[in-house]
Protein backbone atom coordinates (compact mmCIF):
# COMPACT_ATOMS: atom_id res chain seq x y z
CA UNK A 1 0.00 0.00 0.00
CA UNK A 2 1.35 3.44 -0.95
CA UNK A 3 0.84 6.65 0.99
CA UNK A 4 -1.47 9.24 -0.52
CA UNK A 5 0.68 11.90 -2.23
CA UNK A 6 0.78 15.25 -0.43
CA UNK A 7 -1.84 17.72 -1.55
CA UNK A 8 0.64 20.17 -3.11
CA UNK A 9 2.09 17.42 -5.32
CA UNK A 10 -1.32 16.47 -6.54
CA UNK A 11 -2.18 20.06 -7.38
CA UNK A 12 1.10 20.32 -9.25
CA UNK A 13 0.24 17.25 -11.25
CA UNK A 14 -3.17 18.70 -12.04
CA UNK A 15 -1.40 21.75 -13.43
CA UNK A 16 0.82 19.46 -15.52
CA UNK A 17 -2.29 17.77 -16.82
CA UNK A 18 -3.99 20.96 -17.88
CA UNK A 19 -0.82 21.96 -19.78
CA UNK A 20 -0.58 18.57 -21.43
CA UNK A 21 -4.24 18.76 -22.43
CA UNK A 22 -3.82 22.25 -23.81
CA UNK A 23 -1.18 21.10 -26.28
CA UNK A 24 -3.07 18.09 -27.65
CA UNK A 25 -5.48 18.60 -30.51
CA UNK A 26 -5.38 15.16 -32.07
CA UNK A 27 -8.35 13.27 -30.61
CA UNK A 28 -6.67 9.89 -30.19
CA UNK A 29 -3.56 11.21 -28.46
CA UNK A 30 -5.74 13.44 -26.31
CA UNK A 31 -7.84 10.51 -25.12
CA UNK A 32 -4.64 8.66 -24.22
CA UNK A 33 -3.28 11.67 -22.29
CA UNK A 34 -6.55 12.05 -20.39
CA UNK A 35 -6.58 8.37 -19.48
CA UNK A 36 -2.95 8.23 -18.34
CA UNK A 37 -2.99 11.50 -16.45
CA UNK A 38 -6.26 10.75 -14.71
CA UNK A 39 -4.92 7.47 -13.41
CA UNK A 40 -1.72 9.01 -12.15
CA UNK A 41 -3.24 12.15 -10.57
CA UNK A 42 -6.05 10.21 -8.96
CA UNK A 43 -3.74 7.36 -7.88
CA UNK A 44 -6.11 4.82 -9.38
CA UNK A 45 -5.30 1.33 -10.57
CA UNK A 46 -7.34 1.67 -13.71
CA UNK A 47 -9.08 4.34 -15.67
CA UNK A 48 -11.74 4.16 -18.32
CA UNK A 49 -12.71 7.05 -20.54
CA UNK A 50 -16.09 7.08 -22.20
CA UNK A 51 -16.68 9.38 -25.16
CA UNK A 52 -20.26 10.52 -25.66
CA UNK A 53 -21.71 9.72 -29.09
CA UNK A 54 -24.73 11.98 -29.58
CA UNK A 55 -25.87 9.98 -32.63
CA UNK A 56 -26.24 6.77 -30.60
CA UNK A 57 -27.03 8.64 -27.36
CA UNK A 58 -24.50 6.32 -25.75
CA UNK A 59 -21.05 6.31 -24.20
CA UNK A 60 -18.26 4.47 -26.01
CA UNK A 61 -15.40 3.34 -23.82
CA UNK A 62 -11.64 3.50 -24.04
CA UNK A 63 -10.09 1.19 -21.47
CA UNK A 64 -6.63 2.07 -20.33
CA UNK A 65 -5.02 -1.27 -19.66
CA UNK A 66 -5.30 -4.91 -18.63
CA UNK A 67 -7.05 -7.67 -20.53
CA UNK A 68 -9.89 -5.33 -21.38
CA UNK A 69 -7.59 -2.85 -23.16
CA UNK A 70 -8.82 -1.89 -26.58
CA UNK A 71 -12.25 -3.34 -25.86
CA UNK A 72 -15.01 -0.90 -26.78
CA UNK A 73 -17.92 -1.00 -24.40
CA UNK A 74 -21.12 0.72 -25.48
CA UNK A 75 -23.14 2.11 -22.59
CA UNK A 76 -26.53 3.65 -23.43
CA UNK A 77 -27.09 6.85 -21.49
CA UNK A 78 -28.90 6.12 -18.21
CA UNK A 79 -27.70 2.52 -17.76
CA UNK A 80 -24.92 1.40 -15.40
CA UNK A 81 -22.80 3.79 -13.38
CA UNK A 82 -21.15 5.60 -16.31
CA UNK A 83 -24.50 5.87 -18.06
CA UNK A 84 -26.06 7.30 -14.89
CA UNK A 85 -23.30 9.91 -14.57
CA UNK A 86 -23.65 10.78 -18.25
CA UNK A 87 -27.41 11.23 -17.94
CA UNK A 88 -27.35 13.23 -14.69
CA UNK A 89 -24.00 14.98 -15.32
CA UNK A 90 -23.27 14.43 -11.63
CA UNK A 91 -20.27 12.86 -10.01
CA UNK A 92 -20.71 9.45 -8.35
CA UNK A 93 -18.31 8.09 -5.71
CA UNK A 94 -18.85 4.42 -4.82
CA UNK A 95 -16.73 3.08 -1.93
CA UNK A 96 -17.72 -0.58 -2.44
CA UNK A 97 -18.64 -1.57 -5.96
CA UNK A 98 -20.09 -4.99 -5.16
CA UNK A 99 -22.52 -3.41 -2.70
CA UNK A 100 -23.92 -1.06 -5.35
CA UNK A 101 -26.80 -2.36 -7.51
CA UNK A 102 -25.68 -0.23 -10.51
CA UNK A 103 -22.35 -2.06 -10.72
CA UNK A 104 -22.11 -4.74 -13.40
CA UNK A 105 -19.67 -7.50 -12.20
CA UNK A 106 -19.66 -8.96 -15.73
CA UNK A 107 -17.01 -6.45 -16.81
CA UNK A 108 -14.72 -7.62 -13.97
CA UNK A 109 -15.18 -11.23 -15.03
CA UNK A 110 -14.31 -10.46 -18.63
CA UNK A 111 -11.34 -8.25 -17.73
CA UNK A 112 -9.94 -10.51 -14.96
CA UNK A 113 -9.96 -7.68 -12.46
CA UNK A 114 -11.55 -7.10 -9.07
CA UNK A 115 -13.16 -3.70 -8.71
CA UNK A 116 -13.36 -2.24 -5.20
CA UNK A 117 -14.00 1.48 -5.35
CA UNK A 118 -15.23 3.60 -8.26
CA UNK A 119 -15.07 7.34 -8.84
CA UNK A 120 -16.99 8.51 -11.89
CA UNK A 121 -17.24 12.08 -13.20
CA UNK A 122 -18.80 13.70 -16.28
CA UNK A 123 -16.60 15.53 -18.81
CA UNK A 124 -18.46 18.64 -19.87
CA UNK A 125 -17.75 21.16 -22.60
CA UNK A 126 -17.36 24.87 -22.03
CA UNK A 127 -21.13 25.27 -22.36
CA UNK A 128 -21.98 22.26 -20.22
CA UNK A 129 -22.54 19.84 -23.10
CA UNK A 130 -21.75 16.20 -22.25
CA UNK A 131 -18.46 15.22 -23.94
CA UNK A 132 -17.76 12.01 -22.03
CA UNK A 133 -17.37 10.31 -18.68
CA UNK A 134 -14.21 9.38 -16.81
CA UNK A 135 -14.18 6.44 -14.45
CA UNK A 136 -11.41 5.58 -12.00
CA UNK A 137 -11.15 2.18 -10.33
CA UNK A 138 -9.48 1.22 -7.03
CA UNK A 139 -7.48 3.86 -5.28
CA UNK A 140 -3.97 2.51 -4.88
CA UNK A 141 -3.97 3.16 -1.12
CA UNK A 142 -6.70 0.56 -0.82
CA UNK A 143 -9.10 3.08 0.69
CA UNK A 144 -12.17 4.42 -1.08
CA UNK A 145 -11.85 7.68 -3.03
CA UNK A 146 -12.01 10.64 -0.64
CA UNK A 147 -13.83 13.98 -0.70
CA UNK A 148 -10.55 15.56 -1.76
CA UNK A 149 -10.37 13.11 -4.69
CA UNK A 150 -13.81 14.28 -5.71
CA UNK A 151 -12.65 17.90 -5.80
CA UNK A 152 -9.59 16.91 -7.76
CA UNK A 153 -11.45 14.80 -10.31
CA UNK A 154 -13.92 17.63 -10.86
CA UNK A 155 -11.06 20.02 -11.64
CA UNK A 156 -9.46 17.43 -13.89
CA UNK A 157 -12.73 16.69 -15.68
CA UNK A 158 -13.40 20.33 -16.44
CA UNK A 159 -10.01 20.64 -18.21
CA UNK A 160 -10.45 17.35 -20.02
CA UNK A 161 -14.00 18.21 -21.15
CA UNK A 162 -12.92 21.47 -22.74
CA UNK A 163 -9.89 19.84 -24.37
CA UNK A 164 -12.11 17.09 -25.73
CA UNK A 165 -14.54 19.59 -27.16
CA UNK A 166 -11.75 21.49 -28.85
CA UNK A 167 -10.34 18.29 -30.38
CA UNK A 168 -13.80 17.37 -31.64
CA UNK A 169 -14.22 20.75 -33.29
CA UNK A 170 -10.80 20.48 -34.91
CA UNK A 171 -11.61 16.98 -36.14
CA UNK A 172 -14.96 18.09 -37.58
CA UNK A 173 -13.34 21.02 -39.36
CA UNK A 174 -10.69 18.73 -40.85
CA UNK A 175 -13.33 16.24 -41.96
CA UNK A 176 -15.30 18.99 -43.63
CA UNK A 177 -12.15 20.19 -45.35
CA UNK A 178 -11.40 16.65 -46.56
CA UNK A 179 -14.89 16.31 -48.06
CA UNK A 180 -14.59 19.69 -49.77
CA UNK A 181 -11.19 18.79 -51.15
CA UNK A 182 -12.59 15.50 -52.47
CA UNK A 183 -15.46 17.30 -54.19
CA UNK A 184 -13.12 19.88 -55.63
CA UNK A 185 -10.85 17.16 -56.95
CA UNK A 186 -13.81 15.36 -58.56
CA UNK A 187 -14.83 18.62 -60.16
CA UNK A 188 -11.32 19.36 -61.41
CA UNK A 189 -11.15 15.93 -63.00
CA UNK A 190 -14.40 16.59 -64.81
CA UNK A 191 -13.30 20.04 -65.90
CA UNK A 192 -10.20 18.36 -67.28
CA UNK A 193 -12.39 16.11 -69.43
CA UNK A 194 -14.11 19.04 -71.15
CA UNK A 195 -12.66 19.89 -74.55
CA UNK A 196 -10.37 22.94 -74.58
CA UNK A 197 -9.53 23.01 -78.26
CA UNK A 198 -12.18 23.19 -80.92
CA UNK A 199 -12.41 22.26 -84.59
CA UNK A 200 -11.91 25.81 -85.87
CA UNK A 201 -11.69 26.33 -89.61
CA UNK A 202 -11.65 29.27 -92.04
CA UNK A 203 -15.47 29.21 -91.90
CA UNK A 204 -15.94 28.49 -88.20
CA UNK A 205 -14.96 30.36 -85.09
CA UNK A 206 -15.92 28.47 -81.92
CA UNK A 207 -15.18 28.63 -78.20
CA UNK A 208 -16.65 27.56 -74.87
CA UNK A 209 -15.96 28.10 -71.18
CA UNK A 210 -17.21 26.82 -67.87
CA UNK A 211 -16.68 28.81 -64.66
CA UNK A 212 -17.29 26.42 -61.75
CA UNK A 213 -19.40 27.39 -58.74
CA UNK A 214 -18.14 27.29 -55.15
CA UNK A 215 -20.04 24.07 -54.55
CA UNK A 216 -19.67 21.33 -57.12
CA UNK A 217 -22.30 21.77 -59.79
CA UNK A 218 -23.37 19.83 -62.81
CA UNK A 219 -22.86 21.95 -65.94
CA UNK A 220 -21.15 20.60 -69.02
CA UNK A 221 -20.50 21.36 -72.65
CA UNK A 222 -19.14 19.22 -75.40
CA UNK A 223 -18.03 19.55 -79.01
CA UNK A 224 -17.10 16.69 -81.29
CA UNK A 225 -16.57 16.12 -84.98
CA UNK A 226 -19.35 14.32 -86.86
CA UNK A 227 -18.53 11.02 -88.51
CA UNK A 228 -19.98 8.93 -91.36
CA UNK A 229 -22.96 10.68 -92.91
CA UNK A 230 -22.22 13.69 -90.67
CA UNK A 231 -18.55 14.07 -91.63
CA UNK A 232 -17.61 17.73 -91.86
CA UNK A 233 -20.30 18.74 -89.37
CA UNK A 234 -19.91 19.22 -85.64
CA UNK A 235 -22.00 17.94 -82.76
CA UNK A 236 -22.23 20.09 -79.68
CA UNK A 237 -24.19 20.21 -76.44
CA UNK A 238 -24.62 22.43 -73.41
CA UNK A 239 -26.24 20.95 -70.32
CA UNK A 240 -27.13 21.62 -66.71
CA UNK A 241 -27.96 18.95 -64.11
CA UNK A 242 -30.51 19.82 -61.41
CA UNK A 243 -29.07 20.41 -57.98
CA UNK A 244 -25.50 20.42 -56.76
CA UNK A 245 -22.95 18.25 -55.08
CA UNK A 246 -21.26 15.03 -55.99
CA UNK A 247 -24.54 13.46 -57.21
CA UNK A 248 -25.04 16.24 -59.75
CA UNK A 249 -21.40 16.02 -60.84
CA UNK A 250 -21.68 12.27 -61.44
CA UNK A 251 -24.97 12.67 -63.29
CA UNK A 252 -23.31 15.27 -65.48
CA UNK A 253 -20.40 12.95 -66.27
CA UNK A 254 -22.81 10.14 -67.19
CA UNK A 255 -24.91 12.46 -69.38
CA UNK A 256 -21.89 13.71 -71.26
CA UNK A 257 -20.56 10.18 -71.81
CA UNK A 258 -23.95 9.10 -73.19
CA UNK A 259 -24.11 12.15 -75.44
CA UNK A 260 -20.69 11.33 -76.88
CA UNK A 261 -21.66 7.69 -77.37
CA UNK A 262 -24.98 8.49 -79.08
CA UNK A 263 -23.55 11.24 -81.31
CA UNK A 264 -20.45 9.20 -82.11
CA UNK A 265 -22.51 6.12 -83.03
CA UNK A 266 -24.11 7.98 -85.90
CA UNK A 267 -27.50 9.03 -84.53
CA UNK A 268 -29.44 10.68 -87.38
CA UNK A 269 -30.14 14.02 -85.66
CA UNK A 270 -29.96 15.90 -82.32
CA UNK A 271 -33.49 14.81 -81.35
CA UNK A 272 -32.51 11.17 -81.73
CA UNK A 273 -29.41 11.75 -79.60
CA UNK A 274 -31.47 13.33 -76.80
CA UNK A 275 -34.10 10.57 -77.00
CA UNK A 276 -31.41 7.94 -76.58
CA UNK A 277 -29.69 9.74 -73.69
CA UNK A 278 -33.08 10.39 -72.06
CA UNK A 279 -34.07 6.72 -72.15
CA UNK A 280 -30.84 5.61 -70.56
CA UNK A 281 -30.93 8.27 -67.86
CA UNK A 282 -34.61 7.79 -67.04
CA UNK A 283 -34.35 4.05 -66.51
CA UNK A 284 -33.22 3.97 -62.87
CA UNK A 285 -33.65 7.46 -61.61
CA UNK A 286 -35.12 7.14 -58.13
CA UNK A 287 -33.89 10.55 -57.04
CA UNK A 288 -35.75 12.27 -59.90
CA UNK A 289 -32.62 14.09 -61.00
CA UNK A 290 -32.87 15.67 -64.39
CA UNK A 291 -30.65 17.44 -66.85
CA UNK A 292 -31.47 20.13 -69.36
CA UNK A 293 -29.56 19.75 -72.62
CA UNK A 294 -29.40 21.81 -75.76
CA UNK A 295 -27.87 19.66 -78.50
CA UNK A 296 -27.02 20.67 -82.06
CA UNK A 297 -25.52 19.41 -85.28
CA UNK A 298 -23.94 22.25 -87.23
CA UNK A 299 -22.70 22.32 -90.78
CA UNK A 300 -20.02 25.03 -91.09
CA UNK A 301 -20.15 24.82 -94.89
CA UNK A 302 -23.84 25.70 -95.24
CA UNK A 303 -24.53 27.42 -91.91
CA UNK A 304 -27.40 25.04 -91.25
CA UNK A 305 -27.93 24.19 -87.59
CA UNK A 306 -30.19 21.34 -86.63
CA UNK A 307 -31.04 21.29 -82.95
CA UNK A 308 -33.18 19.79 -80.21
CA UNK A 309 -33.85 21.27 -76.82
CA UNK A 310 -34.47 19.20 -73.69
CA UNK A 311 -35.74 21.82 -71.26
CA UNK A 312 -32.74 24.13 -71.66
CA UNK A 313 -32.66 27.95 -71.85
CA UNK A 314 -33.08 28.67 -75.57
CA UNK A 315 -29.82 29.97 -77.07
CA UNK A 316 -29.57 33.21 -79.02
CA UNK A 317 -28.71 33.86 -82.63
CA UNK A 318 -26.59 37.00 -82.95
CA UNK A 319 -27.18 38.19 -86.49
CA UNK A 320 -24.40 39.97 -88.38
CA UNK A 321 -26.82 42.89 -88.64
CA UNK A 322 -26.72 43.28 -84.85
CA UNK A 323 -30.20 41.80 -84.37
CA UNK A 324 -30.66 39.42 -81.47
CA UNK A 325 -33.00 36.45 -81.90
CA UNK A 326 -34.05 33.81 -79.40
CA UNK A 327 -33.92 30.39 -81.04
CA UNK A 328 -37.47 29.11 -81.40
CA UNK A 329 -37.71 26.62 -78.55
CA UNK A 330 -38.09 23.07 -79.73
CA UNK A 331 -39.65 22.72 -76.24
CA UNK A 332 -39.11 19.15 -75.15
CA UNK A 333 -38.89 18.26 -71.45
CA UNK A 334 -35.62 18.00 -69.59
CA UNK A 335 -33.92 14.60 -69.82
CA UNK A 336 -34.11 11.69 -67.35
CA UNK A 337 -37.73 12.28 -66.31
CA UNK A 338 -39.89 10.13 -68.59
CA UNK A 339 -38.74 7.19 -70.69
CA UNK A 340 -39.69 6.83 -74.32
CA UNK A 341 -40.18 10.52 -75.16
CA UNK A 342 -39.59 11.81 -78.66
CA UNK A 343 -37.45 14.97 -78.94
CA UNK A 344 -38.41 17.38 -81.69
CA UNK A 345 -35.81 18.73 -84.12
CA UNK A 346 -35.77 22.27 -85.42
CA UNK A 347 -33.52 24.06 -87.85
CA UNK A 348 -32.02 27.50 -88.24
CA UNK A 349 -29.59 28.86 -90.81
CA UNK A 350 -26.65 31.08 -89.92
CA UNK A 351 -25.66 33.56 -92.59
CA UNK A 352 -22.09 34.83 -92.89
CA UNK A 353 -21.12 36.63 -89.68
CA UNK A 354 -24.09 35.23 -87.69
CA UNK A 355 -23.32 33.53 -84.39
CA UNK A 356 -24.99 31.13 -82.01
CA UNK A 357 -24.75 31.81 -78.28
CA UNK A 358 -25.73 28.98 -75.87
CA UNK A 359 -25.43 29.20 -72.08
CA UNK A 360 -26.64 27.75 -68.78
CA UNK A 361 -28.80 29.48 -66.17
CA UNK A 362 -25.72 30.23 -64.07
CA UNK A 363 -25.46 33.29 -66.34
CA UNK A 364 -28.91 34.82 -65.95
CA UNK A 365 -29.27 33.65 -62.34
CA UNK A 366 -25.94 35.08 -61.19
CA UNK A 367 -26.51 37.19 -58.07
CA UNK A 368 -24.74 40.16 -56.62
CA UNK A 369 -24.33 40.60 -52.83
CA UNK A 370 -27.64 42.51 -52.71
CA UNK A 371 -29.45 39.45 -54.05
CA UNK A 372 -30.19 40.99 -57.47
CA UNK A 373 -30.22 38.57 -60.41
CA UNK A 374 -28.17 39.29 -63.52
CA UNK A 375 -31.30 38.41 -65.45
CA UNK A 376 -32.21 37.96 -69.09
CA UNK A 377 -32.72 41.68 -69.92
CA UNK A 378 -29.16 42.50 -68.80
CA UNK A 379 -27.80 39.51 -70.73
CA UNK A 380 -29.62 40.56 -73.90
CA UNK A 381 -28.45 44.15 -73.59
CA UNK A 382 -24.88 42.96 -73.11
CA UNK A 383 -25.10 40.65 -76.12
CA UNK A 384 -26.49 43.44 -78.31
CA UNK A 385 -23.62 45.71 -77.33
CA UNK A 386 -20.84 43.12 -77.59
CA UNK A 387 -21.97 40.73 -80.31
CA UNK A 388 -19.47 42.07 -82.87
CA UNK A 389 -16.48 40.70 -80.93
CA UNK A 390 -14.60 37.60 -82.04
CA UNK A 391 -16.12 34.51 -80.39
CA UNK A 392 -13.25 33.67 -78.00
CA UNK A 393 -13.32 37.26 -76.75
CA UNK A 394 -17.10 37.20 -76.44
CA UNK A 395 -16.99 34.05 -74.29
CA UNK A 396 -14.18 35.31 -72.10
CA UNK A 397 -15.66 38.77 -71.62
CA UNK A 398 -19.11 37.42 -70.68
CA UNK A 399 -17.55 35.32 -67.92
CA UNK A 400 -15.70 38.47 -66.78
CA UNK A 401 -18.93 40.49 -66.99
CA UNK A 402 -20.74 38.02 -64.71
CA UNK A 403 -17.80 38.01 -62.35
CA UNK A 404 -17.96 41.81 -62.20
CA UNK A 405 -21.70 41.73 -61.60
CA UNK A 406 -21.29 39.33 -58.68
CA UNK A 407 -18.98 41.86 -57.00
CA UNK A 408 -16.86 39.19 -55.39
CA UNK A 409 -19.76 36.95 -54.32
CA UNK A 410 -18.70 33.38 -55.11
CA UNK A 411 -20.87 32.03 -57.97
CA UNK A 412 -23.75 29.92 -56.63
CA UNK A 413 -24.01 27.91 -59.84
CA UNK A 414 -21.72 26.82 -62.66
CA UNK A 415 -21.60 29.30 -65.52
CA UNK A 416 -21.25 27.82 -68.99
CA UNK A 417 -21.08 29.54 -72.35
CA UNK A 418 -20.64 28.00 -75.79
CA UNK A 419 -20.63 30.13 -78.92
CA UNK A 420 -19.70 29.87 -82.56
CA UNK A 421 -19.85 32.10 -85.63
CA UNK A 422 -20.09 31.36 -89.30
CA UNK A 423 -17.24 33.06 -91.17
CA UNK A 424 -17.12 33.71 -94.91
CA UNK A 425 -19.46 31.72 -97.12
CA UNK A 426 -22.74 33.00 -98.42
Amino acid sequence: MTEAAPRADRLQSLLDVSMALATQVDLDSLLQVILDQARSVMEAERSTLYVYDAGQDALLSRVSEGAAQGLVIRVPLGTGIAGHVGATRELVNIPDAYADPRFNPEIDRRGGFRTRSILTAPLLSHHGRLMGVIQLLNKRTGEPFSAEDEVLVRAFASHAGVALERARLVEEALEKQRIEEGLRLAHDIQMGMLPRSFPASPVLEIDAALAPAKTVGGDFYDVLAGTGAHAGRIWFAVGDVSGKGIGAALFMAVTRTMFRAAAGAGAPDPGAVLAQVNDELARDNERAMFVTVFAGLYDPATGVLEYANGGHNPPYVLRASGALETLPNAASPALAVIEGLPFANAEVRLGPGDALFAYTDGVNEAQNPRGELYGTPRLEAWLRAESGRPVPELVKSLIAEIDRFEEGAAPADDITVLAFRRLGGS
Binding site: A288, N313, P333, I338, D413
Partner: protein, 109 residues
Protein backbone atom coordinates in the same frame (compact mmCIF):
# COMPACT_ATOMS: atom_id res chain seq x y z
CA UNK B 1 -38.36 29.75 -47.48
CA UNK B 2 -41.33 28.88 -45.27
CA UNK B 3 -43.71 25.92 -45.31
CA UNK B 4 -47.20 25.99 -43.83
CA UNK B 5 -49.74 23.19 -43.75
CA UNK B 6 -53.48 23.61 -43.79
CA UNK B 7 -55.96 20.74 -43.65
CA UNK B 8 -58.76 21.78 -46.03
CA UNK B 9 -61.19 19.02 -46.78
CA UNK B 10 -61.04 17.00 -48.89
CA UNK B 11 -57.23 17.38 -48.90
CA UNK B 12 -54.11 18.88 -47.44
CA UNK B 13 -52.76 22.21 -48.67
CA UNK B 14 -49.06 22.83 -48.19
CA UNK B 15 -48.24 26.49 -48.79
CA UNK B 16 -44.64 27.33 -49.62
CA UNK B 17 -43.21 30.84 -49.62
CA UNK B 18 -39.88 32.45 -50.48
CA UNK B 19 -37.18 31.02 -52.71
CA UNK B 20 -36.95 27.35 -53.59
CA UNK B 21 -33.31 26.94 -54.59
CA UNK B 22 -30.47 24.57 -53.81
CA UNK B 23 -30.22 26.04 -50.29
CA UNK B 24 -33.84 25.36 -49.38
CA UNK B 25 -34.63 22.37 -51.63
CA UNK B 26 -33.50 19.81 -49.03
CA UNK B 27 -35.84 21.15 -46.39
CA UNK B 28 -38.74 21.29 -48.85
CA UNK B 29 -38.00 17.76 -50.05
CA UNK B 30 -38.18 16.40 -46.51
CA UNK B 31 -41.40 18.30 -45.75
CA UNK B 32 -43.22 17.41 -48.96
CA UNK B 33 -42.14 13.78 -49.27
CA UNK B 34 -43.39 13.22 -45.72
CA UNK B 35 -46.86 14.21 -47.03
CA UNK B 36 -46.69 12.12 -50.23
CA UNK B 37 -49.05 9.56 -48.67
CA UNK B 38 -51.90 12.08 -48.60
CA UNK B 39 -54.73 11.00 -50.91
CA UNK B 40 -55.20 14.61 -52.08
CA UNK B 41 -52.23 16.94 -51.80
CA UNK B 42 -52.13 20.53 -53.02
CA UNK B 43 -48.88 22.47 -53.07
CA UNK B 44 -49.59 26.19 -53.10
CA UNK B 45 -46.71 28.13 -54.66
CA UNK B 46 -48.55 31.47 -54.54
CA UNK B 47 -45.90 33.06 -52.31
CA UNK B 48 -42.91 31.51 -54.06
CA UNK B 49 -40.82 34.08 -55.89
CA UNK B 50 -38.23 31.77 -57.44
CA UNK B 51 -37.78 28.08 -58.22
CA UNK B 52 -34.39 26.74 -59.33
CA UNK B 53 -33.70 23.41 -61.01
CA UNK B 54 -33.03 21.92 -57.57
CA UNK B 55 -36.57 22.99 -56.63
CA UNK B 56 -38.07 21.51 -59.78
CA UNK B 57 -36.51 18.21 -58.87
CA UNK B 58 -38.36 18.22 -55.53
CA UNK B 59 -41.73 18.65 -57.26
CA UNK B 60 -40.88 15.87 -59.72
CA UNK B 61 -39.98 13.54 -56.87
CA UNK B 62 -43.18 14.43 -55.06
CA UNK B 63 -45.28 13.75 -58.17
CA UNK B 64 -43.57 10.38 -58.68
CA UNK B 65 -44.00 9.39 -55.05
CA UNK B 66 -47.67 10.46 -54.91
CA UNK B 67 -48.39 8.53 -58.08
CA UNK B 68 -46.62 5.44 -56.75
CA UNK B 69 -48.67 5.63 -53.53
CA UNK B 70 -51.96 6.05 -55.38
CA UNK B 71 -52.48 9.63 -54.19
CA UNK B 72 -53.26 12.70 -56.25
CA UNK B 73 -51.37 15.95 -56.18
CA UNK B 74 -51.69 19.38 -57.76
CA UNK B 75 -49.72 22.61 -57.86
CA UNK B 76 -51.38 25.99 -57.65
CA UNK B 77 -50.67 29.71 -57.55
CA UNK B 78 -47.62 29.68 -59.83
CA UNK B 79 -46.38 33.23 -60.43
CA UNK B 80 -45.49 33.95 -64.09
CA UNK B 81 -41.76 33.65 -63.38
CA UNK B 82 -42.22 30.32 -61.65
CA UNK B 83 -44.55 29.04 -64.37
CA UNK B 84 -41.88 29.99 -66.92
CA UNK B 85 -39.32 27.78 -65.12
CA UNK B 86 -41.72 24.81 -65.33
CA UNK B 87 -42.49 25.59 -68.97
CA UNK B 88 -38.86 26.00 -69.95
CA UNK B 89 -37.89 22.67 -68.44
CA UNK B 90 -40.85 21.13 -70.27
CA UNK B 91 -42.40 19.96 -66.99
CA UNK B 92 -45.75 21.75 -67.00
CA UNK B 93 -47.58 18.86 -68.72
CA UNK B 94 -46.37 16.49 -65.98
CA UNK B 95 -48.35 18.30 -63.28
CA UNK B 96 -51.92 19.20 -62.52
CA UNK B 97 -51.72 22.99 -62.29
CA UNK B 98 -54.55 25.20 -61.06
CA UNK B 99 -54.79 28.94 -60.35
CA UNK B 100 -55.51 28.59 -56.62
CA UNK B 101 -55.93 26.09 -53.77
CA UNK B 102 -59.74 25.98 -54.02
CA UNK B 103 -59.61 25.11 -57.72
CA UNK B 104 -56.88 22.54 -57.09
CA UNK B 105 -58.88 20.85 -54.30
CA UNK B 106 -61.96 20.78 -56.50
CA UNK B 107 -59.91 19.21 -59.31
CA UNK B 108 -58.60 16.46 -57.01
CA UNK B 109 -61.90 15.77 -55.25
Amino acid sequence: MEIREDRREPGLVVAVSGRVDSNSAGELEAALLARAGEPRLVVDLGAVEYVSSAGLRVFLMLAKKCKAGGGKMALCGLAPGVKQVFDLAGFTPLFTVEPDAAAALARLA
